[in-house]
Amino acid sequence: MSRPFWWVLAGVASLSLMSLTSLMVGPVSVDVSQAWSALFNFDSSDTSQVVVRQLRLPRTVLAIISGCCLAVAGAITQGVTRNPLGGPGILGINAGAAFAMVTAIHGLNILSPSGYVWFAFIGAVVAGFLVYIVAQVGPGGTTPVKLALAGAVVTALLSAWTSTLLLLDEETLDEARFWLAGSLTGRGTEEARLLFPLIVVALVGALLLGSSLNTLSLGEETAVSLGQKVGLVRLSAGVVSIALAASAVAIAGPIAFVGLAVPHIARALVGSDYRWVTLMCLTSGPCLLLGADIVGRMVVSPLELQVGIVTALVGAPFLIFLVRSRRLTSL
């Protein structure tokens, strides 16, 4: 068996280990046997089993799903734009989601999370396409600087409007500020259940796009002369990545840098074949997000740090490292 295969296998193993840890760690610590029986042999009279089943299991599942979405979305974006800085956070998707959600809460008075996630989803999609199109304009396609600036500009614009709306009333600010931090606590699994079919379709699409992305990574002209319909590949990759990123935002709020960092880690481990990179992202994305969530639960215990804050604290230095390293220009 090849090297990438073993790495993916290791990823699966560490993911299951992480999930188990995530069930056990928290204000009430639970040992392995109790966590195990909460999953497979549930006894509703045992408090710690109830904690695992009612609080930590949904949270872990959400982390796994949104981790997959973010990491694969990042990998596809980076592949199709051939841009090492591609990722949902940079693309302005988070800001779009935040703007749409705050508008929904404030303007339409929608206060239930299952109501405003749809607005977040739509806002994310619109912002993603906007940034994509703006960065695409002009010769040379999307260069790292163009993409990052287009994203930063759209983010600045949308977040200025978001904070305007937040200023207009205190209730919206109070409702929105926890969502805006990116957190896995207190999210219903409802949204995840509704979005699940879409996510599965998009993930399968991402895996199928792997070989086309490999061809595209040889350069646009080479890809065309090899008979690839470059426009079609770009469009479908754009749709897949934005759908995944938007689903992740709708489920867990704006979580930065997972989509940026994980594909780079995956590429370092399994090489540049996008079929393997995508598979590796599917395992290491959730690992990173679960890890961040566990850290967030532990550092300021008994309170917790929102997972979006933890990923930003880890991810921004990673971005800086990436910019400083020589590999930025080559993808």
């Binding site: 404030h106 904070s163 305007t164």
Partner: protein
């Protein structure tokens, strides 16, 4: 308060706005028609070329600014006859209107003018130095650094008088951090931008943390400060801004010729005798200091630093010393105008001025982005 009720300003205000927009457009197109002429000035050891067109533009902007400033003294919830307002502000202190004019409106107008001046010049320096019209202190994280420190002061409930100093220190430290992280055998423009964007995200997550951690009463104050507002500007704010402008502006003017050499590219600049890294660092320090004093007083106001230098560049071309002053004047005019709009648009509800600059600046900004990418 609902969005719908807010979205219905009075017809009169709207008509004023339309008139203002049209006259701005006319002013820009007229200013392009002024013929370019230069005249040599010789006086003992000093000799130089003055750009008469730029001089006229500066005079025009100054006149408009003065007019708008007077308007700012005059209108408001409590209208004051024009002559009375001027009289109370300038020579006859005391009297009937003393409190409204001298404690509320005059410092606010001056703070708007000075802060607009600082922000616009800061943006112009950054944009010319990095050769990119999309860079400004608000995009690369300097404003966010100031905001993080200020939000910290606001949310922990510390003494509010330290707020400007905290914001200033935050902005300067951020600039140093970005510059030193971007250093790798010299600083390269696009690396600085990308690292700035990363730092911006990092600092923003710090702000988010503070906003989640503390109770809502304090968070509201922090949220309001973050948009940028001139509400409650006092004479001590004006004093800080004036001091900053007086100290930094000569330095900036001295650095402009060096900046123009740097714009030729590093190799050529070195060949012409520039100490490239030293000068670049000096310019970044000056530009950050401008941004820092403005942000320290009025909050991290977006889009002024981004937008105004671009508008001026459309009219006068690449940056010169006079162009820098014109940029500052236009920035002052712009911010004052925005503040008046923010006060009047939904009167008696006043908006923070940052809302208006974002609403006006945002769409224009996207337009610049597309244009810039196309021309790249």
């Amino acid at each position: 308060m609902n969005l719908l009720s807010l979205a219905a300003p009075s017809l009169q205000t709207l008509s004023y706005l339309v008139v203002a927009f049209v006259s701005v457009a006319i002013a820009i197109s007229l200013s392009r028609r002024i013929t370019i002429s230069q005249r040599a000035v010789r006086c003992r050891i000093f000799s130089g070329l003055t750009d008469l067109r730029l001089l006229r533009l500066c005079m025009g902007t100054l006149l408009l600014t003065i007019f708008l400033g007077l308007l700012g003294l005059e209108i408001g919830e409590y209208p004051i006859p024009r002559f009375e307002a001027i009289k109370t502000a300038l020579w006859s202190r005391g009297g009937e209107f003393d409190f409204v004019v001298n404690s509320l409106r005059f410092p606010r107008v001056l703070a708007a003018l000075l802060a607009g001046f600082c922000l616009a010049i800061s943006g112009a320096l950054f944009q010319s130095l990095l050769g990119n019209p999309l860079v400004s202190p608000d995009v690369i994280g300097i404003n966010t650094g100031a905001a993080l420190c200020a939000v910290f002061v606001l949310t922990v409930g510390a003494d509010l008088s330290v707020l400007p100093w905290a914001a200033f220190v935050g902005a300067v430290l951020t600039a140093i951090l970005i510059y030193s992280l971007a250093w790798k055998q010299g600083v390269n423009g696009s690396r600085l931008v990308l690292i700035g964007i990363g730092i911006n995200a990092l600092l923003a997550s710090g702000i988010t943390y503070l906003m989640v951690k503390y109770p809502i009463e304090r968070v509201v104050a922090a949220a309001r400060w973050q948009v940028g507002s001139l509400f409650g500007s006092s004479w001590s704010d004006v004093r800080i801004l004036t001091l900053g402008v007086v100290i930094i502006t000569p330095l900036a003017l001295l650095l402009v010729p060096k900046l123009r050499l740097l714009q030729l590219g590093d190799e050529l600049a070195i060949g012409l005798g520039s100490r490239v890294e030293m000068e670049r660092m000096a310019i970044i320090v000056v530009a950050s200091a401008y941004a820092a004093i403005a942000v320290a007083v009025i909050g991290p106001l977006g889009f002024v630093a981004l937008l105004v230098p671009h508008m001026v560049r459309l009219i006068v071309g690449p940056l010169t010393g006079g162009g820098l002053l014109l940029t500052g004047l236009v920035g002052a005019l712009f911010l004052l105008g925005c503040d008046l709009v923010a006060q009047q648009l939904f009167a008696p509800t006043t908006l923070p001025v940052g809302v208006v600059t974002a609403a006006l600046g945002g769409p224009y900004f996207l337009f610049i982005l597309v244009r810039y990418n196309r021309a790249l």
